[in-house]
Symmetry: C2
């Protein structure tokens, strides 16, 4: 989830200065028309310490018309607030229709801080989060636009930033003891934050993670995002002939990033034949041992294979299964649903094949089709695929809660490599059937698919079931990396 | 919540026999057209032991075409089921589009049974319920119609029924040890069931409580309800020009009852002047003492006054406040919202006046306007007021969780009494302003309001904040009963 905000996005001073004037004009124009809107805008600014929440809010106050933008900062409760139910203070602060409320500190602050401090346990935290979902849904059902920003810093960035702030007398005061304590707790904070975001990233009020190491990039990205979300929401609320299905479609909430996760992969990574053979033998042996232990310990495993056409899924499966006992696994190829499958919820056909304890199911393509091909080709409505992210997270967390190991691979190749492989396949008689016109047509939508993959990883790479992106231009490298990852994931679950 | 299912509803053998043929025809016709529907129907049959879940399901199997109606019974998990995530077995059983699945035992059975057996605590139970909300919402968003029936028996009825079953050798086998244990735990079961229903009665999948002491009444009521819900859902799903707002409006889920709560009140109850004076003095004195203790213990109180026009709210308030310290209470009359209030969520203006610890707020009319006048007069859309029940329950449970005592009164008079009071008011100069044309117009909608009040009590009379229905044709009786109730509720919270 946070991987997408650790790509090193930045904006130079010059680019920033160049973009600001037009941005400010558009923001003010938007605010003018927003005044007549029949809904309030609620913006939560949360995130890592040192990610610049206060600086960002100052900037927004400078760029927006402050008459219709109210900043609401919540810290420890006042006497007045303690004497009422928890949410009383948030209710008092709700912006009215046509206005924007910027929340620094919100209904998320307390539960996260208390969980980090261990005054709440996991189940209690989930109780708070369940209530947050109810509260936010109520706001959205009343028409409100709820935008939840998570400003993210990696551990190294956070450390660096606090050091820089402390070194400068003008800013040293901004580093509190609390910040330092939080840094010491970074890993725990990150994991709790990840859990919180996953539990509360709903279709109607999704979280947006903003890479915040570079203030120029952060501020522009946030302002552009607010602009887009508000304008989109306005359009939905004034256009009366919106189809029913797209009611939730306002949850755009996707950041357009220059740098992408897939773009960041090094596709030159390769392995020579000799070391490939050696490593293949080694990791297949390891996997075989681990799979036997998993069977004995009654631990089940779900392997998800996704990737570009001709990305090497089939070849990888053929390298995995020799390490498994044929009685214990099944491979489920996902193609067009059967009649019966189409007559059920789209997740039904995947639930059917969930392995029993000690068994393995390999899904050759999977439920992620909902947010990949179905999204790009328009088979699923915008509301449907936006909803799917949290449906999928919920599904996978049920598997993990049961004790199943979930390992998800995306096999990444570039467009040239794909073309090369298509051509090769056409030359080999027993592979020719694998290439159809569809495959060529899909290439035209490469950029759309790339966006979909990025969004998918942003929304569904969770602590309990992370995505593993495999550099797959070189098949040998890809297979070894995937086998090794499988072993590591299994070993982690099985213990020493 | 269960009060509405303890009214003694029944149907004679003759009425039953007369209604069945037409009902069966309509059920079969409905099922024929349902086959082409793009959604499945999921019916949960839950409720008290001995309420006849199995008998009802048999009956439905007899009345419906069993080819498209599947009964799904869940009991203790099989080996196969234990080796998969909890919900796997429910997914397997989901009916396909156009079909009906009848669940005896469902995702509710385990959490409720475990909480009764104390292997779950309150917070853990809420975790399960939060997950159920997510699951059901997912089904509904995919188009499913989810009908949740709760077959209710009072404690006395349950006892009687088990005795009758046991006495007859032909049915004695149906009384299990489990049933007997459950009877011993009736109060605990009722309270946990009430909590469960409240937490999971959402606008998209509300619970419907069915009075089940009389099998004829139960079976006919359920079948008519299924028919109505399914036909309504079908109409919504085929009529493409449904306005956006009404998407959730399918959640009709209101049982048409011959006997109503209000109808069951004895409006002849009265007090003579002498005993009224004595009791008034006594209960005002009590209230005064209790209010002082509440202030000292920092316990706040919210009093909600609802009732027919001229029902005596003002007079009651004037009898309550002499017992309170003028510095500690406020009376909030609810009329047309101000501009600022109208620019916020409808609950906002009530949150504003929530008392701080130790204080009292008296709401002269309240948030219940949403499901009364706004519903009847069409100021709120169907989706809005249907949503409001759970919003209100959530709001009040936040108050109660904070330690606030919430006391809700409905002052009930009949139509004749109201007319008499209107006429009296018109004769008295300083009361004349209280009568407007609106008051007379509202009388024309008496039956609609009566239905709305019944639904309100059904959906929002909870263990933590029950409704108190006051027989108010006689003002003296009403005032004493209300004062006494106030004292009891306060005392309960403050302890001996």
């Amino acid at each position: 989830m946070f991987e997408v905000a650790e790509l090193g996005q930045s904006l130079s001073r010059e680019e920033f200065d160049q973009q600001v004037p037009s941005l400010r004009t558009r923001l003010l124009e938007m605010q003018q028309t927003l005044l007549d809107a029949s809904f309030p805008v609620i913006v939560l600014v949360s995130g890592s310490d040192g990610a610049g929440k206060a600086v960002l809010v100052n900037r927004l106050n400078e760029w927006f018309d402050p008459r219709y933008l109210r900043t609401l900062a919540f810290d420890d409760k006042t006497q007045d607030e303690r004497e009422r139910p928890d949410y009383w203070r948030f209710w008092q602060a709700l912006p009215q229709k046509g206005h924007i409320g910027l929340y620094i500190g919100s209904w998320y602050s307390d539960p996260i801080a208390k969980r980090v401090a261990k005054t709440l346990n996991d189940i209690e935290l989930d109780g708070y989060l369940a209530h947050i979902r109810i509260f936010e849904r109520m706001l959205v059902e009343d028409g409100a636009l709820v935008i939840k920003l998570w400003l993210h810093l990696s551990k190294a960035q956070q450390q660096l930033r606090l050091q820089q702030l402390e070194a400068d007398p003008a800013t040293a005061w901004r580093v509190t003891e609390k910040d330092k304590r939080h840094l010491a707790l970074y890993d725990s904070f990150r994991s709790i934050a990840e859990h919180t975001l996953r539990q509360t990233s709903t279709a109607e009020a999704p979280w947006v993670v903003i890479e915040s190491a570079d203030p120029h990039y952060r501020d522009i990205t946030v302002a552009e995002h607010l602009l887009e979300r508000i304008q989109h929401h306005q359009a939905l609320h004034t256009c009366s002939d919106t189809p029913l299905e797209d009611e939730n479609a306002e949850a755009v909430a996707l950041i357009h990033r220059q740098k992408t996760l897939l773009g960041n992969l090094d596709l030159t990574l390769a392995l020579d034949k000799t070391s490939y053979q050696q490593q293949l033998e080694h990791w297949q042996g390891q996997l075989s041992l681990l799979a036997r232990r998993a069977y004995q310990q009654r631990v089940s495993m779900v392997i998800v294979l996704e990737g570009w056409d001709a990305g090497g899924k089939g070849g990888l499966i053929r390298r995995i299964v020799p390490a498994l006992d044929a009685r214990n696994y099944q491979i489920i190829p996902i193609a067009v649903p059967t009649d019966e499958e189409a007559a059920h919820h789209y997740l039904w056909r995947f639930w059917r094949h969930i392995p029993r304890d000690g068994r393995v199911t390999i899904y050759d393509r999977s439920w992620y089709g909902r947010v990949l091909v179905e999204r790009v080709e328009g088979f699923a409505s915008r509301a449907q695929w936006l909803r799917a992210y949290s449906e999928i997270n919920d599904f996978e967390s049920q598997l993990v809660a049961h004790g199943t190991v979930v390992v998800k691979f995306w096999l990444h190749i570039d467009k040239d490599e794909q073309l090369k492989r298509f051509k090769e396949r056409e030359k080999i008689s027993y592979k020719r059937h694998k290439i159809t016109d569809d495959d060529y047509r899909n290439r035209e939508r490469w950029a759309d698919y790339e966006q979909a993959v990025n969004d998918m990883v942003e929304r569904t790479s969770t602590e309990v079931a992370p995505w593993h992106l495999i550099e797959a231009n070189n098949k040998r490298f890809a297979r070894i990396k995937a086998l090794k990852t499988l072993c590591q994931q299994l070993e982690q679950q099985l213990g020493g």
